[in-house]
């Protein structure tokens, strides 16, 4: 605690001491709650109690009550085990004076009837079947305004998602007296869901089979959100939809284009482009703080497990349907974020676990709190659809001259395939032409008129050049708008008046041709030789098989090769995520990894291998259960080289040593 306090003082003095670039922690501060030794706090659910305590349920089946989690004025929290023995509870809520936990196979009310601070009555409120598959996770309950509750049921995993017992892949609605109505299906891994103030229900989905990238979808009764496995139960009499898996088209066309042909299929309101935003979306928290958590009142925060970060979402309704933009918000949390809950003081509790999946935050688990420092970051506050493009609103006035300059902006659009495969490459990417720019009088917003808006596409807006009136850059200079409908109710921009000066054709192409080839068809190159060179005479000096293991690991930690030897590597991705295999020069793994991380939209088509001399050889980006052979000549200089997966978020842990010896 003392340490945190001292750090804080240091940070504050630092801010005022020099005019350095501002970073996330100048605006949002992460406070780490200490966890008693021996407590395996792999957070599954969080609930804030009105008396200031915080309920935390864990993978090991315990519910802890944390007193004084706000740690004001140098005080410390204390932990008391309130309940125990639950089967991997992944949701906790405080409803009508009681804690409710969703276990794998049951929604349970935990009561302390004798008032000794420990639950002694475990009421089975609603029980549901399980097949016994480890991937049958259950989440909730989320309370609706009329006191009904929602729970969601994860699909099992048998090499692909599967609904092995009733209502797996569904969201269920429960009345206070325990009557269940199936609400919506098409869910794959619905760990995060919320009811907004206006009563709308949203859930987030992880990239996977039938899910090209992370996304957030509004669920209304009878909706089908995209993964067909749950449709196996639609012949049940209480199913709100009759759609069958055989009616779902598996063509690889964009989901938006398939939706009119598949009844009930609901397109997401928000896509979170994979690795450009996060890699595994989790909880949703709506900012109802009335400005006490900063300038994003009414917006949503969405956690990401793999990247240990929180994203921000602005939603709007256009033609009655939800859509909007997502932005980076805050990264640097200690473990994989699963839960976010508002504290009484309008700070945000963040509950984490990485377990067998690994995350950018290195701790196995953790509990932190995110506070607004009171300073307003210079950010894009919103992106809104306009008949001819977008309106971008800022949190602070922009430098108007710079904002009028087309060089301050870049715009692209792209989408994903809708198919049974795990994930999707970016497809149909296109650089967009900005026709006109209108900067508001007060400098608080900008209108961009853009050529060829495409419905169902993700529109990337990059504002790298924009500066505030105080000459600061944006804290985060990009956002992704999912365009399902065009708001043609708003007035159009006067294109003639605000037209931008045409650039020469040559400049326009620069850096914007995107390779849409699927990962597996990436072209071979000098550093990725996939056929044995003729000159080797049909024989490699050494052939080495490298596989992957769950938890971001290669299955071997060390490879020894002879300097100058002809090396054949067979890289086998037997994990359930995307990986590559990259050999880099000694001591350069950090540089290469970071460069891969920064490749952004271009990254996937280039297998996340940056064009750097430090890279010696690499494979393509491999789908789960795919493999590739590469051939290269080992370096002549002996030393400890590194082999690494440079897929964003992986490189710091997924490494091994390639020892080159004489």
């Amino acid at each position: 605690m003392k340490k945190i306090f001292i750090l804080f003082l240091f940070t504050v003095s630092g801010v005022f001491g020099q005019n350095r670039p501002l970073v996330e922690e100048d605006f949002y501060r992460i406070v780490t709650l200490p966890i008693p030794e021996g407590v395996q706090l792999e957070v599954g659910g969080l609930a804030t109690l009105p008396d200031g305590r915080l309920g935390v349920c864990t993978r090991r089946g315990d519910v802890w009550l944390v007193s004084n989690p706000y740690m004001k004025n140098g005080t410390t929290p204390t932990y008391k085990r309130f309940a125990t023995g639950l089967h991997e509870p992944l949701g906790l809520n405080y409803i009508n004076g009681n804690l409710w936990a969703t276990q794998r196979g049951e929604l349970t009310i935990l009561k302390d009837t004798d008032g000794n601070g420990v639950a002694d009555d475990y009421q089975a409120f609603y029980k549901f079947p399980l097949s016994g598959n480890y991937h049958e996770y259950s989440y909730g309950p989320v309370l609706l305004p009329n006191n009904d509750m929602l729970i969601t049921l994860n699909l099992g995993w048998i090499g692909h998602g599967a609904s092995l017992s009733k209502w797996r892949g569904w969201m269920l609605r429960l009345t206070p007296d325990g009557k269940m109505t199936p609400w919506a299906t098409g869910l794959r891994s619905p760990a995060g869901f919320a009811v907004l103030k206006n009563g709308d229900i949203y859930y987030t989905e992880n990239q996977g089979d039938w899910v090209g990238s992370g996304r957030m979808t509004q669920l209304e009764e009878g909706d089908f959100a995209g993964n067909p496995e749950g449709l196996i139960w639609t012949s049940e009499p209480d199913s709100p939809l009759k759609l069958k898996a055989s009616n779902v088209l598996d063509t690889g066309e964009p989901m938006y284009d398939i939706a009119p042909k598949v009844p009930n299929l609901k397109v997401p309101a928000i896509w979170f482009p994979h690795t450009l935003m996060g890699i595994s979306t989790s909880d949703i928290a709506e900012d109802l703080s009335g400005g006490k958590f900063g300038p994003f009142e009414g917006q949503l925060f969405v956690g990401d497990q793999g990247h240990s970060k929180i994203m921000r979402v602005f939603l709007e309704k256009v033609k009655g349907k939800s859509q909007g933009a997502c932005f980076p918000f805050r990264e640097g949390f200690q473990s994989g974020i699963l839960r976010m809950k508002w504290g009484l003081d309008n700070s945000m509790f963040v509950g984490m676990t990485s377990r067998g999946w690994s995350s950018t935050g290195k701790d196995e688990f953790g509990l932190q709190r995110l506070e607004w420092t009171g300073r307003t970051p210079f950010e894009m506050k919103t992106i809104k659809s306009m008949p001819d493009g977008f309106l971008i609103e800022f949190t602070q006035p922009v430098n108007k001259d710079i904002a009028k300059d087309i060089e301050s902006y870049k715009a692209n659009s792209f989408t994903y395939k809708y198919h049974h495969n795990y994930g999707s490459p970016i497809i149909n990417a296109k650089a967009l032409k900005i026709k006109a720019i209108q900067v508001a009088e007060d400098g608080m917003s900008v209108r961009l008129a853009i050529d060829s808006l495409r419905l169902g596409y993700i529109h990337e807006l990059k504002l790298e050049g924009i500066r505030s009136a105080e000459d600061r850059p944006l804290l985060h200079n990009f956002g992704y708008y999912t365009l399902n409908n065009i708001n043609d109710a708003a007035p159009a921009i006067d294109v003639k008046k605000y037209a931008v000066v045409e650039k020469k054709a040559a400049e326009e192409h620069a850096g914007h041709s995107m390779n849409n080839a699927p990962k597996t068809e990436m072209k071979a190159s000098a550093k990725r030789v996939t056929e044995m060179p003729e000159s080797w005479g049909g024989k490699a000096d050494q052939t080495i098989s490298v596989g992957t293991k769950p938890g971001l690991k290669f299955d071997i930690a060390n490879i020894q090769v002879k300097a100058g030897a002809k090396i054949h590597i067979i890289f086998n991705n037997n994990d359930d995520m995307l990986h590559n295999f990259v050999v880099v020069k000694p001591g350069t793994v950090g540089k290469v990894g970071e460069a891969a991380f920064k490749m952004g939209l271009d990254g996937e088509s280039k297998a996340y291998v940056p064009n750097l001399p430090e890279v010696i050889a690499h494979t393509a980006l491999m789908q789960p259960e795919a493999s590739e052979s590469i051939y290269f000549v080992a370096p002549t200089a002996p030393g400890n080289y590194t082999f690494v997966c440079t897929y964003p978020g992986h490189y710091t842990v997924m490494q091994g040593t390639l020892k080159v010896v004489k």
Binding site: R59, R60, G61, T84, G85, L86, H87, E88, Q103, R104, G105, E106, T108, I109, T113, A119, D120, D121, Y122, Q123, A124, K127, P129, L130, S131, G132, N133, Y134, I158, G159, H160, A162, R355, G356, W357, A540, T543, S545, G547, P550, G551, D555, H568, I570, N572, N573, N574, E625, A626, S627, E628, S629
Partner: protein, 567 residues
């Protein structure tokens, strides 16, 4: 396609298991023993009965006076398994090679190894059963390769591993008879079985050739890309390395198995991927429908002296290539027929346990029962050292055990894929069928299952001051509560209370045979699972044949019924 990875999923359960070897053991008849004052008998009376004696015959050895019995069988390197029964205040010793003792006792720790200086190496936990119940002990021992020592490789008492790799320094030859000694009380022994291991390697491979085909991926069933092999030739050893350079390949080895002498053998293929084995043109290990993580598969074959043609096929799929073939015999430990580098040692996993120290520990999980996963199960561990697992769906206990509580490695190691809890101590296995049922009349069968959503509705549980749960159900108009509490004598007492409802019956237990020993005291006998049931002598339960063989003991339920299971 949807089913293609199911076998993989199944294989996950196996990956923590030990290399299996299942040869029947040789029976050591009672006339192999120089009996001294031990007597051959047909049966022995339960020591709680009125009559304390035995019936003459030759099924077991029995002693109620101090003295030793020694086998004519001499062993050096062997596995020995037997069952034993102890009377009240009885103390015996089982000797390996005539001199290294293992305690069989209800006055000392059963399973303790007696060191050469007479002190005891205590078992990892106390896994002995109650007086008068048949128990089992299995010991594997061998000569240390480093000399001058006997290694007690493994001792398993009543299914609980209590010693592994214990080394006893010795002088001279490690060889001798088996022996039992009665030091006091009553000791009986039956079903003494053994395997003597030799260092012979009577099976070799010869005339080896190989063919290697590059194959398509799973979506084309790993079929070869071409009809002609990419590579072929003669081989000096069986090794995965012939496939090096290919992501997916099929490797076919052909040759002869050279057998030195007639006998029954096992051929154990251990690989990751797909495989099959033919001997004499017969598929002894057929191709599996799917692929699997590495796990051993054993074929048991009778082979005569001479050459037997074989064909081993191995498909490398998405896992690293790993290929091994072992030979074993009833009295030959498995040895490799493959090249050393073809099969790396698997990495063992450190155990995650739950240990109740000062308070009751509860944990819900999946649990295997009779080869199936039960999904809504709670396990209760007590500081008293008696624990149980209870199926909340069917309202019935599955196991109760003493000693260490629970191994939850498979729940919490990495992603916890099998999600299974395993009991660690000496356990009794219950029927797993509903404890309470409504019967049309006293002659109707107790059901094997109840509809756990429509009929038997689980309402939750309350914890008492000690933290022990009482399970609550609604069952067709009846409110039921079931509570299991450790009894003072190491058993478990079940109390069932009903309000409302009619024609309710309680199943106290199920076994192959159920015998009343005294009023209110019953002996339940099943293979490796003997137990007692004790209840108020005034109650008159009915023992009758169960619906699917065996017997069950039932009692009408009016108000409350309480009974204790002992093992």
């Amino acid at each position: 396609m949807n089913l293609r990875l199911l076998p993989v999923f199944g294989a996950l359960f196996l990956c923590f298991q030990v290399f299996a070897q299942d040869f029947p053991l040789n029976q050591l008849p009672t006339d192999n023993w120089d009996s001294g004052n031990w007597k051959p008998a047909e049966s022995v009376d339960n020591p709680f009965g009125k009559k304390a004696g035995f019936t003459a015959g030759n099924k077991l050895l029995f002693s109620n006076t101090p003295g030793k019995t020694t086998s004519k069988l001499i062993t050096a390197d062997a596995k020995v398994r037997f069952e034993f029964l102890l009377g009240n205040n009885s103390d015996g010793v089982f000797y390996i090679q005539g001199r290294h003792g293992i305690v069989l006792s209800n006055t000392r720790a059963t399973g303790a190894i007696i060191r050469p200086d007479g002190t005891l190496q205590l078992p990892e936990q106390n896994a002995g059963k109650a007086v008068g119940l048949w128990q089992s002990l299995e010991v594997t021992f061998s000569d240390a390769s480093f000399g001058g020592s006997l290694i007690i490789e493994k001792v398993t008492l009543n299914g609980v591993v209590i010693h592994q790799g214990y080394v006893i320094p010795t002088t001279g030859t490690n060889e001798g008879p088996l022996a039992f000694e009665n030091k006091s009380g009553t000791v009986a022994v039956r079903n003494v079985q053994y395997l003597k291991y030799s260092k012979e390697k009577p099976i070799k491979l010869s005339d080896l050739t190989y063919e290697m085909y590059e194959t398509w991926d799973w979506n084309q069933q790993f079929a070869p890309k071409k009809d002609t092999p990419n590579d072929k030739g003669t081989a000096t050893a069986l090794t995965k390395d012939f496939g090096a350079g290919f992501n997916r390949f099929l490797l076919i080895f052909r040759g002869n198995i050279d057998v030195e002498k007639d006998g029954s053998y096992s051929l154990i293929a251990d690989y990751a991927g797909k495989g099959s084995l033919k001997v004499d043109g017969k598929e002894v290990l057929p191709t599996e429908s799917g692929e699997s993580y590495r796990k051993p598969r054993a074929a048991y074959v009778q082979l005569t002296k001479g050459k037997h043609p074989f064909e081993l096929r191995y498909n490398k799929v998405w896992w690293k290539a790993e290929l091994g073939l072992f030979a074993a015999g009833p009295e030959i430990r498995p040895y490799a027929l493959h090249a050393e580098t073809s099969l790396p040692s698997p990495q063992a996993v450190g155990e995650i346990d739950i240990t109740p120290t000062s308070q009751v520990e509860l944990i819900r999980s999946f649990v295997m029962f009779n080869g199936k996963k039960r999904t809504h199960v709670i396990s209760v561990g007590t500081p008293a050292g008696t624990h149980y697992t209870y199926d909340l769906n069917q309202g019935t206990p599955l196991y109760a055990w003493r000693g260490d509580f629970a191994d939850v490695t498979e729940m919490f190691y990495q992603r916890g894929e099998p999600q299974l809890l395993r009991p660690r101590g000496v356990k009794t296995t219950f029927s797993g069928k509903p404890t309470v049922a409504i019967l049309a009349d006293a002659n109707a069968n107790m059901p094997d299952t109840l509809d756990e959503y429509k009929d038997l509705v689980f309402k939750g549980y309350s914890l008492d001051e000690a933290g022990l749960p009482g399970f609550k159900y609604q069952y067709k108009g009846a409110e039921l509560t079931q509570k299991l509490v450790p009894s003072a004598d190491g058993g478990i007492t079940t109390t069932i209370t009903a309000s409302g409802g009619s024609n309710l019956y309680v199943k106290l237990g199920e076994a192959k045979t159920i015998t009343m020993i005294n009023k209110g005291f019953y002996l339940l006998e099943s293979s490796d699972n003997d137990s007692y049931i004790q209840l108020d002598p005034k109650l008159k339960p009915v023992v009758r044949n169960a619906s699917k063989g065996g017997q069950e003991i039932i009692l009408p339920l009016g108000g409350s019924v309480s009974f204790t299971t002992l093992w």
